[in-house]
Amino acid sequence: MRKLFETGNAAITEGAVAAGCNLFAGYPITPATEIAENMSRRLPQTGGFYVQAEDETASLHICIGGALGGLKAMTATSGPGYVLFADPYGWAIGSEIPLVIVNSQRVGPISGITGAPGQGEFYLSRYPTHGGNFETIVLAPNSVQEAFSMTVEAFYLAERFRTPVTLLADQLVTDGWASLSLPENETELNEMGLKVVPRSIHPGPIFYPPTDEIDVPPVVLGQNTGGACSDWTPTEEGYDTEDIEDQMKHANRLIGKILSHRDLIDRHESIYMDDDPEIVLVSYGSPSRVIGSAVKRAREAGMSVGCIRLKSLWPFQDKLFERRAVYLAVELNVDGQLVREVARASRGEVHFLGKCGELPRVSELIEAVDCLCDGCELKSKKWETVVW
């Protein structure tokens, strides 16, 4: 095991290499540029290809083309590029093409501030394309080490579910420096609880089975299997169809394969949740790191408080919010995104603490929890707040 002091961006690069990624196509964008730079150095060393695309639409389409030829592909971007994926993302979902998409979120909307963290693409990662009739898989790291491990896991899930997987990070996770343990071989990787699924090739002719099964090999072109892959609704053999029954079967498969295997996807971390605290802070990504400290101090001060940190965002883990409690969603936007899902999933009282372009301070969080303990509404002028 190698011990390094590295950025999240470097950790993502090494995670991709460890997972067997052999194609990266991307367009430079702060704060994800460093991933592209690292990949341009690493992939030629490990038998892969680096392509600098003409725009993000091309980035993901080049990844799709490579994946269709049997390569394990990844791209990395930030919000302004992620939104340009709408077209290819939908195609990769519909045609069941495995690949990995990294989004290091920065504050927005639009170009926003390049060097400030944001969490504005929570819902965009659930609905990254038009047309409906699909589910997405989204993982969210909160540390440099997790940036590594979750990249490996993203490739693992992409292959098994035959779908694009988004790693939804943020500027602080990817730009931040921390210690990083890197496995030096597959045994060490497995010891970390991580697995690599090699690309398999569908032999045909039923490329799109009308079932919920996973571990179905993807279409790989150039093998003379008669593989067919298009942006149109496919028949089971990949022909374009206008038959509504085929459409229904396809939609059911895209949703069913993900929802029937939640055990492989769902991930969370519970902090001080064993004693069923009255107040539960909910977060993901970099704010969760501050929350850990805040919850510890609040408990020392006698407050009944715990924390749920989501490590997988989509499909949303409704079951985590079944217990009646006062929930406080903490996120890096002031319009409230995560909080809406918590409100939908929970039966308790739900509050929101949003920050715009910077992390909440421990003191702010403790003040908010204290306020909720007293049963009063969050009214501090230091942060935008709404009672949901």
């Binding site: 091309a58 799709i64 299997t225 149109w232």
Partner: protein, 276 residues
């Protein structure tokens, strides 16, 4: 189905659902004739297609492996696929004028610049015909369409001294030709040369649309008259001007490094420790 169709195409998709009298089948046939003469088998080619008449009617007609891209993006997809396939595997793309010269032009031009080894057949019916007949990037100036009821006023890509093939040549394309579906063996020869070029090749193939362009823009449903008009585009007094000719436009075949092979060569240097 004739012998070429039986050998190369899928019975489920041929005949296609193209309109009776459409010239697309003749473009399709010329590609098959070229493949036959080059002795290419079903396993030697991966066939890609775009959106619109040309894309939808050719998708998955090939007996081997097929893909169809989102509108205008098939060139970027082919760029990625090129890296994954062995160098002797051909990628042939059939797309339309809107796909190549409109929505996908940026990706197309970047393929030319990178010299990606693909053969793009732009099957051009002079406008957006599958959506009902709107003007496009090759609709003659002044012509009426369903979205230019007073005549097309926007400069197109192939008239008044402007030529999309000039743009592609300047962008680095290594083989360019222009034909109509009504031509004979000369067009097949161009397709053969295009496929043999290990680099970016494009053939601009103009073909008659008898369902929209004929009735709306040429004001006739008479197939003979429509075909006669299309035959005349390369002749004296043709609508696109004197310099609009059929034939090979630019042949710099195998003169520039190909994209995927350049990346492979550099990778070999890195792996050998020559580049650090």
């Amino acid at each position: 189905m004739d012998s070429l169709s039986t050998r190369y195409l899928r019975a489920k998709k041929i005949p296609s659902t193209a309109c009776g009298g459409c010239g697309l089948g003749q473009v399709h046939k010329k590609i098959l004739m070229a493949m036959d003469e080059l002795a290419l088998g079903v396993g030697d080619v991966v066939w890609g297609s775009g959106i619109g008449c040309a894309g939808r009617q050719t998708f998955n007609t090939w007996k081997g492996d097929n893909f169809a891209g989102t509108h205008g993006r098939v060139y970027a997809i082919a760029t990625g696929l090129r890296l994954a396939l062995p160098e002797d595997k051909k990628i042939i793309i059939t797309s339309g004028d809107g796909d190549a010269f409109g929505i996908g032009l940026s990706h197309l031009l970047h393929c030319a610049r990178r010299n990606v080894d693909i053969t793009v057949i732009v099957a051009d019916n002079l406008g957006y015909q599958s959506t009902g007949g709107q003007y496009g990037y090759t609709t003659p100036l002044g012509f009426v369409s369903d979205s230019s009821p007073y005549g097309a006023i926007e400069q197109n890509w192939i008239q008044n001294g402007i030529d999309i093939l000039d743009v592609l040549r300047a962008g680095g394309a290594t083989f360019l030709a222009r034909h109509s579906s009504l031509e004979g063996y000369d067009a097949v020869k161009s397709v053969k040369a295009a496929i043999k070029n290990v680099g970016f090749s494009l053939i601009h193939f103009i073909y008659p649309c008898v369902s929209h362009f004929g009735p709306v823009s040429l004001k006739t449903r008479d197939i003979d008259r429509i075909f006669h008009w299309f035959k005349g585009i390369f002749e004296a007094g043709g609508v696109f001007g004197e310099n609009f000719k059929s034939g090979i436009f630019h042949d710099a075949g195998n003169s520039r490094p190909e994209f995927a092979s350049s990346l492979r060569s550099q990778r070999a240097e890195v792996e050998a420790g020559h580049l650090r």
